[in-house]
Symmetry: C2
Subunit: 199 residues, 2 copies
């Protein structure tokens, strides 16, 4: 019994939804981070453990995607894997080891074994669905942000342009205005917003 995780993030330099991959220890190539489940361990704890040791990321709320149970999936034997998806802002990945990890756009995941390409595709779809009608539910942005910043993040997650005015009208009733203005780049100052109910 194993867990595998598609850890997604946004690279601000290249605004595409990307997935963390780790160098395989048992052979050449890359794979999703994963681990075998310890006896009595919860799935979320195993995900946390695998990502803590491989990418130094903590405080996760992984979501299950599905179980992959094809007996031929893993050449080492019969391994059931519970696929998970998790989204973190890229600064949470700063402490990862660059030689043993890489970030790859989800649209071009490379050649992966274990059916990991399918997990990535499903993970990307899950995140896109989550972002379709909620303002940045996975906190890629901080507590406060402008509608322009939110717009760019949602476009990057969706992987396609989203109409600006329609996006504003959809998101504005879901946000809490702070009343503060901010000037980030040359242009009219933008209003800062917060998510509505935020821990």
């Amino acid at each position: 019994m194993a867990v595998d995780t598609a850890l997604l993030t946004l690279d601000p330099a290249d605004p595409e939804l990307s997935v963390l991959q780790v160098r395989r220890t048992d052979g050449p190539g890359w794979a999703l981070p994963g681990t075998f489940l310890h006896p009595g361990e919860r799935l979320a704890d195993a995900v946390e453990r695998s990502l803590r040791t491989k990418a130094d990321v903590r405080g996760l709320r992984p979501r299950q995607l599905r179980v992959y149970d094809d007996p031929a999936r893993d050449s080492r034997g019969w391994v059931l894997s519970v696929a998970h998806v998790e989204v973190v802002p890229i600064r949470r990945l700063d402490s990862r080891r660059p030689r043993d990890t890489r970030l790859v756009p989800v649209a071009r995941p490379g050649r992966l074994g274990f059916g990991h390409a399918e997990i990535i595709a499903r993970a990307a779809q899950e995140v896109r669905d989550r972002y379709a009608d909620r303002p940045d539910p996975d906190h890629l942005l901080g507590r406060q942000f402008t509608l322009g910043e939110l717009h760019r993040v949602h476009q990057a997650v969706a992987g396609r342009p989203l109409q600006r005015d329609g996006f504003r009208r959809l998101m504005k009733p879901l946000l809490c205005p702070t009343g503060h203005l901010v000037t980030r780049t040359g242009g009219r100052p933008a209003e800062l917003f917060r998510r509505v109910s935020n821990p």
Copy 2:
């Protein structure tokens, strides 16, 4: 490692979405049909096996819901369970043993252990989502049916009345007219339809 299945059906006498429960062998009360996974066995095969022995149902296409991994879930020890959902017409349950099984409306599942009530709620939601915009995807009806029959099935699955004319307009473009009319009860004869792409 185990599988549990919410096997849903419609009782024509009482048009509510109902779930099959089996008498527990290790204690009093009722539970969802389930079994432990055999080594090397696929999840879908374990589901099929458990339902074949307990309800004499074959030819299933179970869908995964999620894994339940709470270590305190099963008092007998550490058991991960993959919950599944499956829908069959009630005639496929004719050969079940009446004393050891029962059909219960999903809205009132009774007192169940192992978190089975939550599985049932999630299963019902999954089926309702599937039925929201497709004509009877799980073949509760046969190959041919009238829009009135389809309407009654969808209402029973949804657990609430669905507007008749809106339902017709939504479903008609998804159906293939046969050109044949049929008179089932006193009233104007209805046209028979088929699903569009049907194996």
